[in-house]
């Protein structure tokens, strides 16, 4: 079973700035980490490979430093790593990102499954997985908490707001995973050394994907941020309610109702 896992490097902290002109995140000077949800996707792929064999390719689009996320994927145990890196990709929205990823996936010789994290923790749109499946014309199985592979099909337990449902699709298919699906493995130290010393991260540019580049990057993105601003936080006064527990609880509820919080 051959699997492609799409991963993203995201800023390490939530304390990041925005470019007021483009409405995109300012990533310079901010440390990057492998998106936590994508780690679940990698772990799911590694477990499937342990059960069914095959090869895992980790695929990412991003600036040169996104190579670190791919090295982490290699240290967890994936077989191949590809980075889509080109200045023209800068400012991509989810559709433009999905487009570039879909073109790259068509160049990967054969695959049975594409796994993605449900969402990235910086943008939290949960759009790339579903868009990718549409562009590649694949069945999409989203929000998976369990994946079961049968001979000719794959089944997932999908998490919904008020319950679960079981979905099944033929191969190839795309699955997005929830964080509950597994506990990602910690890469062993020797595997980290191999990932940095012995393994390769292939870098593909826009030229490697397609000649017509109009759908890439900021210009190829239909989503434009008109305005980005930080939420103003107003600090209130601390009020300490004193008295018997029942009485204090009653006053607390009353106060919260008055403020429209209950």
């Amino acid at each position: 079973m051959n699997i492609v896992v799409c991963i993203k490097q995201v800023p390490e902290t939530s304390d990041i700035g925005w470019d007021p002109k483009t409405g995109t995140l300012i990533r310079e000077g901010v440390g990057g980490i492998l998106n936590p949800n994508d780690k679940n996707a990698l772990e799911a792929a590694l477990q499937l490979r342990e059960q069914h064999g095959g090869l895992i390719t980790a695929l990412s689009m991003g600036p040169p430093q996104a190579e670190d996320a791919l090295r982490e994927a290699l240290s967890m145990g994936v077989d191949k790593a590809i980075l889509l890196n080109d200045r023209i990709f800068a400012g991509s929205d989810t559709l433009s990102t999905s487009y570039a990823l879909s073109l790259a996936i068509t160049k990967i010789p054969s695959f049975d499954l594409i796994l993605c994290g449900k969402e990235s923790w910086d943008a939290m749109t949960a759009q790339v997985g579903p868009q990718l499946s549409e562009l590649l014309n694949l069945p999409q199985l989203t929000y998976a908490t369990v994946i079961t592979v049968n001979r000719n099909s794959v089944k997932i337990k999908q998490k919904l707001e008020d319950g679960f449902r079981i979905l099944e699709a033929s191969f190839p298919a795309l699955i997005t995973v929830e964080k509950e699906i597994n506990q990602p493995r910690i890469p062993p130290m020797d595997s980290i050394m191999e990932a940095y010393r012995d393994k390769e991260v292939q870098v593909w540019t826009a030229e490697d994907l397609v000649k017509d580049k109009k759908h890439f990057g900021l210009k190829g993105s239909p989503t434009q941020s008109r305005k980005v601003y930080s939420k103003k936080v107003q600090k209130g006064k601390v009020t300490i309610l004193e008295g018997e527990p029942d009485e204090v609880a009653g006053r607390l509820i009353q106060t919260l109702k008055q403020k429209g919080l209950l």
């Binding site: 910690i186 890469p187 062993p188 130290m189 020797d190 980290i192």
Partner: protein, 378 residues
Amino acid sequence: MDFTLSGESKMMVKAARDLAKQEIEQIEAKIEEEDAIPDDIWQKFAKARMLGMMIPKEYGGIGSSALNVILILEELAKTGSAVAFLMALNNSVVETIYHWGSEDLRKRFIPPLCDGSLWPAMAFTEPGTGSDPTAITTSAKPDGDHYVLNGTKRFISYGHKKGYGVFYAKDETEKVTAFVVDKSSEGYTWSKPWSLMGLAGQGLVDIFLKDVKVPKENILGEKGKGFHILLRWIAGERVQQMAFMVGMGQECLNESLRFAKERIVRGRPMTDMQGFQWMLAEMHASIEASRWWTYRVASKQDEGDDIAVDSAALKLFVVPTIQEVARKALQIHGSYGYCKDYKIEKLYRTIASPGVTAGSTEIQKTLVGSALARSKEI
């Protein structure tokens, strides 16, 4: 001079952080309560390939550097747990057997210490001596193919756990020789663990050797040259101890910042007040200086330099420096810092340890001072 850490080293630190969160912090309260480390932690270290890290792959290690071990140890130390010491002890004992051992000793003793099946130990100290090698009384008398060891060793970490240890004894020529001893040998017994101020679960026991037979081929290095082995080991141990101090010092600062940012005094967070800002600044500067010097000595170790004097100088600087960081952290926390509910309480106790173990801070001054006096450079 390059002060940047490689991507590989940074990733190792991150993996160590994740391991500390998933495997150590979860059980730390239990370790404190029971004063014992669960045996399966050893297998977890083995799975993470954090045992025998500096040893080549063919003996079960991974061929990494002393600096990487130091970085991992610093990260694990932020838990304030003896579990971090466990990893350090394994790496230093295994490296000692590798450095001095014959091919036969390497192949017999190193792999099981790297795969998590056996526990290491290093045994020099005795009831009547700490730093004076001439005062040791444990004897090793030749008897056919064996040496017969008799004596008592004191404060031996994990001496009661199944595995192999490096033991020092006076041979028939009254010189100190190092032996690799199987802790399952007949005549090998131990006391109950000492109850310590900190480092719960460290498993510090006294070992009683009564006619313990050790094959002659288990002599480590040259006969009669055991003290050289001890000095080289203890130099590496000092650097590891200081990495432990740096990690705990950093955690003291982290905890102090968390506390001071949230604690409101006269309507303002403590961090708004210049007095506390100065304390935090001094803590930060102290930790950074300690950290980079520790990295420097570890790098010298990787370069194959003799670090006996460097590691002693490092220790005599880092120990009081980080102990002062811990004192400031306690002051910032006020009465809360004296409560077991706050991590500072444990860190404060644990930070007291390296100043009196593996050579006191004071004896490092003698080491460095006498080396300077002997120096012919000036």
